[in-house]
Amino acid sequence: MHMKLRILLADDHEIVRRGLRALLEKHEGWEVCGEASDGREAVEKALQLNPDVVIVDIGMPNLNGLDTTRQLLQHDPHFKVIVLTITDSDQVIREALDAGARGFVLKSDAARDLVSAVEALQNKRMFFTPRVNDLVLAGFLEKGQTVPRNEAPKLPTLTAREREITQLLAEGNSSKEVASLLNLSTKTVETHRSNIMRKLSFHSIRDLVVYAIKNNLIQIELPPPPKTPAGPTAA
């Protein structure tokens, strides 16, 4: 008897998870074994359910998709992760590859590409959008290098814990709320917060939010431009 391919879905929008589930369960032989609405829950459920494939949205609260991928693979390098993202910038692609994702799919193309991505991982292959293939050809992934030398990061690197805390603070959580989410004391969170601000030479939460957006710790969708008033009509 063929065992079904078991898939864990992680996206903070239930509407998106429903759409993904409807798409994936049309495929005979696949089943969605669980869902998670943030990265932390995704890691817990993956460890409980041991899915064959984990599909993670990059932009999730509490723990974003890239850090979720890193944590999953630290626990067990055999997890196969497909990252879903609204953007395919060079930086996001590099980070997803560095984090160990085996698949990279744009959300806008998920209806077209996700099934192919899961099939690829099922057959022990990787799946990336054409843009990622361009990066590979450009030599960004030669010899394990994912950042060209002349584009080395200019900011100090944060530890994994510091990245987690940066994301939670940028999402609007107080130090006390962060402490509760991460099972730490408020004092420990405050210490991490000071270290983060000092390392990055930031003076305000606003700086932190901008950093979190630029470094894909949180993803935002920009609102449409404001309505411009109609100009004078030509005579």
Binding site: D12, H13, I15, V16, R17, R18, G19, P223, K227
Partner: protein, 137 residues
């Protein structure tokens, strides 16, 4: 009486999710889909839905612009925004553009059905996350 619904979002996965949720209701029918504001206007003309579930940020023509056109073109159509933008300011703009409802995508699974029910009866339905309320003061 069946409520006929047009679903508009630039992400097919989101449209699928919305459709799955809406079609669970026995008296509702998703009569069509569109992926941007311009297509939404065309399809509203062809299909004459009762309710449009509409995203804000879309290519070619965004939801707010589409809503303004639809208000003139299809005065009986009720528009419900389902959007990422958890913002009182955006919600105000949406209502000023002529929408009857505004729901945040992250809570769509919880709020959508009640929202469609309300706007189909020409009642206003808005729901933001609590965190956004302090911005009103």
């Amino acid at each position: 009486m069946t409520i006929r619904i047009l679903v508009v979002d630039d992400h097919p996965i989101v449209r699928q999710g919305l459709k799955t949720l809406l079609e669970g209701h026995s008296d509702w029918q998703v009569v069509g889909e569109a992926s941007d504001g311009a297509e939404a206007i065309e399809k509203a003309k062809d299909l004459d839905p009762d309710v449009m579930v509409l995203d804000v940020t879309m290519p070619r023509m965004n939801g707010l612009e589409a809503c303004r056109v639809l208000r003139r073109q299809s005065p009986d159509l009720e528009i419900l925004f389902v959007t990422q933008h958890d913002s009182p300011q955006m919600m105000r703009e949406a209502l000023e553009a002529g929408a009857r409802g505004y729901v945040v995508k992250s809570n769509a699974a919880r709020d959508l059905l009640a929202a469609v029910e309300a706007v189909s009866q020409h009642r206003v339905f808005t729901a933001l996350n609590e965190r956004s309320f302090p911005q009103l003061t």
